[in-house]
């Protein structure tokens, strides 16, 4: 008795041989039947028994299998003859040929599937180019498609907010629309020709789930609309529903993108009203930074050199984002203009001028603006501050931090402002800090605000000796306070430091 050819479960056939498995098993069976002890394959990593079993000292015949990667060997054990050698060689060539053919077939199949997918995708692209076609074009296209595919004499598509689309016999299509409008007792489904009064079956198919649109088509005169046509019509209506949804989504996205673009451009333009370079003022080191919470900031800072000295200011428009930024540009401009016009060097006078300019505008806009306006007189080294509802405003003199409280409400609240002026002589290294509330009200993950005390402490502790250094340091400290919490509000800080330089 010869051993039955089998592939042992534990001795898995290498993956490369799976494509010729049947042939290999079959020819192994024949080898065993002709007296061989076993048939093996060596795939370069080891021997696998295909059929039978052999002792290690059995005689072996081998033939190369070149169609496998890496090249393998077909081995027959326990048999040896001239005939066996040439037969083994022939079997090896057979397996090689089969392997090559199977590989080609599977490659071709994959290519075909891919080509078919592409053709399908191309079809969808060509038929439903919803991104470039208008909704009306899509409906037109699908109406033609429905007529062509179903052979209906007339097709109508009714979609809300679009004129009815009629195709085929247009007059007849209009009759179909009227039939549905007048209510033949059905919103969708089949109206048989005896009840349609037209000698035609009429099929009404809803379009999509969301749009209360209808695809209406007529059957042949005197004939019926059969089930395949109904299914086709349902498929077309479903497809149209999808395309309409896609087209509308796309149009909405386009509109959104345009709006986003406008908002970004407007925000950028609003931000450009802020000075980009620190002023060169003998005896003063000035630096400011604004960091919007959103795209655009409702905070502003500004400075102007006049014949009497430096006028500088920080302000904060109530609210946030682009609306606040638009008002901000107005205020920054009004402040600079009032500073230029001023001949007194008195910030209270400048503040009153600004309020007179913007009060009505602010009232109409329903917003107010907190601001601190300051002047620096080089000869005396005195800085004068008026504070209209703004905070924080801090003086740092001989290492002591003191707030400058507001004396009048913000701009836009009262028609006339008569502010008190706070004046200080700035000694070398003394500073004036004009911040915005976003600087002190920023919360951390525990809901704790950064606070004016922490800000004052950081200013006292700071080792930096330049305005820009202090601005950098305070912004970095604030950032580490907020951590991953989003920025609550616009942040602005203007630092003025008295230097050794003679004014």
């Amino acid at each position: 008795m010869h051993a039955q050819p089998s592939v042992a479960a534990g001795d898995r056939m290498p993956a490369a041989f799976e494509r010729v498995r049947e042939a290999l098993v079959e020819l192994s069976r024949v080898w065993i039947e002709s007296g061989a002890e076993s048939v093996l394959i060596d795939d370069g990593k080891g021997c696998h028994t295909v059929a039978g079993s052999a002792t290690s000292d059995s005689i072996r015949l081998e033939a190369r299998l070149d169609a496998f990667d890496p090249p393998a060997r077909l081995i027959v054990a326990g048999i040896d003859s001239e005939y066996a050698r040439s037969r083994l060689e022939a079997d090896a060539r057979l397996l090689d040929g089969l392997a090559v053919a199977r590989t080609q077939l599977s490659n071709t199949t994959a290519a075909l599937v891919e080509a078919n997918d592409q053709a399908l995708a191309f079809y969808h692209l060509a038929t439903g180019t919803s991104s470039s076609l208008s909704v009306a074009d899509i409906v037109d296209h699908l109406a033609e498609e429905a007529r062509g595919l179903t052979g209906a004499p007339a097709v109508a598509i009714c979609v809300p907010s679009l004129p009815d689309t009629l195709c085929g016999d247009r007059e007849f299509a209009r009759v179909l629309v009227d039939l549905v409008r007048d209510g033949v007792g059905t919103e969708s489904g089949m109206v048989r020709r005896h009840s349609s009064g037209l000698n035609h079956d009429v099929l009404i198919v809803p379009i999509g789930h969301e749009q209360p649109g209808r695809l209406i088509l007529a059957g042949p005169a005197g004939g019926r609309i059969h089930t395949p046509t109904q299914k086709l019509a349902a498929a077309i209506a479903g497809h149209l529903g999808g395309l309409l949804k896609l087209a509308r989504t796309h149009q909405r996205e386009l509109a959104d993108a345009m709006l986003r673009h406008d908002v970004e451009a407007a925000s950028m333009l609003a931000g450009q009203v802020l000075p980009r370079r620190s002023p060169t003022v003998p005896g003063l080191d000035v630096h400011a930074r604004n960091q919007p919470a959103r795209l655009a900031s409702g905070d502003y800072f500004t400075w102007t050199m006049t014949e009497r000295g430096l006028i500088f200011a920080v302000g904060d428009v109530s609210g946030k984002g682009l609306p606040a930024a638009l008002v901000m540009t107005m205020l920054a401009t009004a402040t600079t203009a009032a500073a230029h016009r001023d001949r007194t060097g008195n910030p209270a006078h400048i503040l009153a001028e600004i309020n007179a300019d913007v009060y009505e505008y602010l009232s109409d806009s329903g917003v107010f603006v907190t601001t601190a306006v300051c002047s620096w007189e080089p000869r005396s080294g005195v800085v004068s501050v008026v504070n209209a509802g703004h905070s924080p405003v801090l003086t740092v003199r001989r290492g002591q931090v003191e707030p400058v409280p507001p004396h009048v409400p913000p701009l836009g609240v009262l028609p006339c402002v008569d502010a008190e002026v706070a004046s200080f002589r700035l000694e070398v290294n003394d500073m004036l800090l004009l911040g915005s509330d976003g600087l002190v009200e920023q919360e951390n993950a525990d809901g704790m605000q950064y606070g004016q005390d922490r800000l004052a402490e950081a200013v006292v502790r700071s080792g930096t000796t330049t305005a820009v250094g202090l601005v950098d340091e305070l912004f970095a400290l604030l950032q580490s306070h907020s951590g991953d919490e989003p920025q609550d509000d616009d942040r602005t800080l203007l630092v003025v430091r008295r230097t050794r330089e003679a004014p």
Binding site: T370, N387, G389, V408, P409, P410
Partner: protein, 112 residues
């Protein structure tokens, strides 16, 4: 968090009680209910802020807007018993100098 608005009219006066967080999200409904009273012929409104635990600049801007409109027609918007957080921000912005702030309840405040 939400803001509750209770509005009532008594004679030529009106009283509105706010409770909760008064920020940008709540600006519109507060403005609507306050201006509705003014449009209805109420000249002076007492606005109870004793239970407002947060107000931002948009909220303050709404109060300012209503106050200005009320004064144009000879009335006023009286802020009644503001809570500590509201009081702090009114002082910080010096808006306490622009508004009439009263400690007595809205019913009494609207009487004069």
């Amino acid at each position: 968090m939400h803001l509750e608005i209770q509005s009532e009219r008594n004679g030529s006066g009106g009283s509105v009680v706010l409770a909760g967080r008064f920020d940008a999200h709540e600006a519109e409904p507060v403005l609507t209910s306050l201006t509705a009273l003014l449009a209805d012929g109420v000249s002076t409104i007492g606005l109870d802020l004793s239970r407002v635990d947060f107000i931002d600049s948009t909220g303050l801007a709404v109060l300012t807007r209503v106050m200005k409109r009320a004064r144009e027609s000879g009335g006023d918007l009286v802020l009644v018993a503001p809570s500590t957080p509201v009081r702090v921000i009114l002082e910080l912005t010096a808006l306490d100098k622009a508004f009439v702030v009263s400690e007595v309840g809205p019913d009494i405040a609207v009487g004069h």
